[in-house]
Amino acid sequence: MQGNDDIILSATGIEKVFPGAKALNNVNFQLRRGEVHALLGENGAGKSTLVKCITGAYRRDGGKLVLDGAEIDPRDTFEAQRLGIGTVYQEVNLLPNLTVAENLFLGRQPRRFGLVDAAEMNRRARALLSGYELDVDVRTELSSCSVAVQQVVAIARAVDLSGKVLILDEPTASLDAHEVEMLFAIVRRLKSQGLGVIFITHFLEQVYAICDRITVLRNGQLVGTRDAAALPRRELIAMMLGRELGDEIKQAGNAQASEGAVRYRFRGYGRKGHIAPFDLEVRKGEVVGVAGLLGSGRTETAEILFGAEKADSGTAEVDGKPIDISSPRTAIRHRFGFCPEDRKTDGIIGDLSVRENIALALQARRGWARPISRAEQDRLADRYIAALDIRTSDREKPIRLLSGGNQQKAILARWLATNPEFLILDEPTRGIDVGAHAEIIRLIENLCEQGMSLIVISSELDELVAYSRRVIVLRDRAHVSELVGEEVTTSHIVEAIAAADKREAGQ
């Protein structure tokens, strides 16, 4: 145990509630002086919510923040900056049409006789950047610099303004390997100066290359904080995706699923730049799970199966007959349905009522000239509001006012209303509260019993294991492995993901 004075920033018992879901639940986080601390988790785990609570972008609903021994309560990012917490985002938030020096000193330009003293500003900017081994003229416009240089300028500005804690939110997402190395050299130097650095990324190799400790969040809860050196990659993935290693509960119920004839068969199906060609077979009444880390091609698989992205290779068949699914409309004609991962942008029609949102897909399939009568729409909406327990004051409420879980159920209702035979669910339980979680899982099992074929993509491995008879594992936009029946356990899935990961690291 290190002394308390080593801790530069400590967050205890942080809580944040969004309508309908608890985004952070009693999260503790401690950052030491002179360490690089990785903050990891899948999308929606609460990483950015935690960072925003620390920087004052969000008001936290509970918990304590202590910076350098003094309790703080930043009301906005400016105050956090003044207190010593600087943030650099993936999308550089500087002004591209100003010079490097102007960006560094924006809002605090040195003045002479009330005017900006450009010479003095440039001199100071050069002095400031001298520590960063940057070969750049501070008078050039920022937009003419590479993203990496812009990133460094953003870091230099944040460190100069704040100087105690630096938060890097996916800084390497758009950098090449060489630029990442340059960035890391700078981070290491800042670390040696005693700065505490919080590093958010999706690249595990980078985590091991630079981080001292790792904190993992999942579903708004702290999974744990560990020393990077003592945490094998496999175990880290298990922490991120849920379920401790060695936990071998094999759910009954999925193993005895029927060995019926293959209903949907995709051969060599793929699209360049999205997902490598894959083979996939789905039987009637079968749930096929899809697992993989973020960016492994999960959503791309769903989009290509539904025609949201056109496949440029391979064939699709239903009951042995070739079909064409080049657009959502044609897919829907073959009784496909798709609940997308990003409800807000791809799912809900925010200003329309719950009733209209539920009727939309059915109406679109019937065509505009055959409207569903208002009475029929009301019946449809009432039926699914009751069946799926969608909590809304009435069916005419705009859907954007519902909580995430209820929006998700309404979108599910939209597809169930079309009587689909093949349903693709992309992260059906993301960002919704625990109660709704269980209901949606029960629903998936019911649908499957009624003979529907489902593809479920999820980063919740224990959920996947509970309802899938087969699980496809993805890595680097390719299907790398398929687990069937008894093989479907969380540890096997984690192993399959990590094995591919190691192979890559070994190259």
């Binding site: 791809d346 809900i348 409207p371």
Partner: protein
């Protein structure tokens, strides 16, 4: 019954404003409200408002749908000029009235198709896509009329501009019938809901199986058709096609009518009836200012001031503020009651 009530509630602000504007004018000019029957035709300032407002009302019908898709159509004024010129050129070169009308309407729809393809297929921002035809359109119209005002004296065509039917001027009959027809078309079928869904979230609508591309193109074609009808009326009214001035700046009045009608420029929920009321509000203001005898150079400023006032009253901020006052007033009343 319930639907009717919510619909009237939606139109209430526009109806109140229109009545207020009309009352205000009639306070200064009591004659404003008088209507007379002469030769089987109604005359009066109110009828003038309905008649003069016909082009903007027609444009507002198409504009409402286009704006509901989260788009905008700047080209309608120029399309009016093109279609007026086409009609004049066709009738003066001896074609029949039916052929002339069909040709002019087809040209308007073709212009809409062009806009729709730029927006839906090439994914160009609507404001830029339709700006192209707004600029080029007047040039095309000038080519058709060969730079002069192309006059005609075909009685049939002139009848569309100055004839009357059931006592009402033809332009009034046309925009009323067309407005009702389009309203029925979008509300009695699923088109209205699909257009609203497309305007609110195009990607989610596409993923739900809505043919968003086709709908978008159809919206611009409808707008072009509306502009064609307005253009024929404008030409018939002056018995000639004026490529330079026909429909000049009317695209802005049409957008204004949609906005005064309480439709959001961000797309989604729309009401054609509200836009038509908006068009009549604008025309009533125009006519009122003319009647008032102010020096004409004041007209535009007064019009702008009144419209700013209407928009301020409709703005979400002011509405929130009014709601807040309403709440605190009722709270005070409740407190007083408790004290008693």
């Amino acid at each position: 019954m319930n639907a009717l009530k919510s619909h009237l509630l939606r139109l209430a602000p526009q109806i109140v404003v229109l009545i207020a504007v009309v009352l205000l004018i009639s306070l200064a000019f009591p004659d404003f409200l008088t209507l007379q029957m002469q030769n089987g035709r109604i005359y009066g300032s109110l009828i003038d408002v309905l008649n003069r407002g016909a082009p903007v009302a027609l444009l507002a019908i198409g504009m409402t749908i286009v704006i509901a898709t989260r788009g905008i159509d700047l080209s309608v004024g120029a399309v009016m000029a093109i279609c007026g010129a086409v009609a004049a050129a066709s009738i003066t070169s001896g074609h029949s009235l039916v052929y002339t009308l069909a040709l002019a309407l087809a040209v308007g729809m073709l212009c809409g198709l062009w806009n729709g393809i730029l927006v839906a297929v090439l994914d160009i921002q609507p404001i830029i896509a339709t700006l192209v035809l707004m600029v080029a359109g007047r040039g095309i119209a000038q080519l058709i009329t060969e730079g002069a005002i192309l006059t005609f004296n075909d009685a049939g065509l002139i009848f569309i501009g100055s004839g009357s039917f059931l006592g009402l001027p033809m332009p009034v009959v046309i925009w009323l019938v067309f407005g009702i027809a389009i309203t029925l078309l979008v509300r009695r079928t699923a088109l209205g809901m699909l257009v609203e869904a497309l305007g609110i979230n195009r990607r989610a609508s596409t993923l739900s199986g809505v043919s968003t591309g086709v709908l978008l193109i159809a919206a611009y074609i409808l707008s072009g058709l509306c502009a064609a009808i307005a253009g024929i009326i404008a030409a018939a009214d002056i018995k000639g096609a004026d490529a330079n001035n026909a429909g000049l700046w009317l695209e802005l009045d049409a957008i204004l009518a949609v906005v005064v009608g309480g439709n959001s420029l961000l797309g989604g929920r729309f009401s054609i009836a509200a836009s038509l009321l908006g068009a009549m509000i604008i025309q009533a203001i125009n006519t009122g200012i003319l009647l008032s005898g102010f020096p004409p150079e004041f007209n535009l400023i007064i019009k702008a001031a009144i419209i700013v006032l209407i928009l301020v009253v409709q703005s979400p901020r002011v509405r929130d503020l009014l709601a807040w006052f309403g709440r605190s007033a009722s709270r005070e009343a409740a407190v007083k009651q408790e004290v008693k």
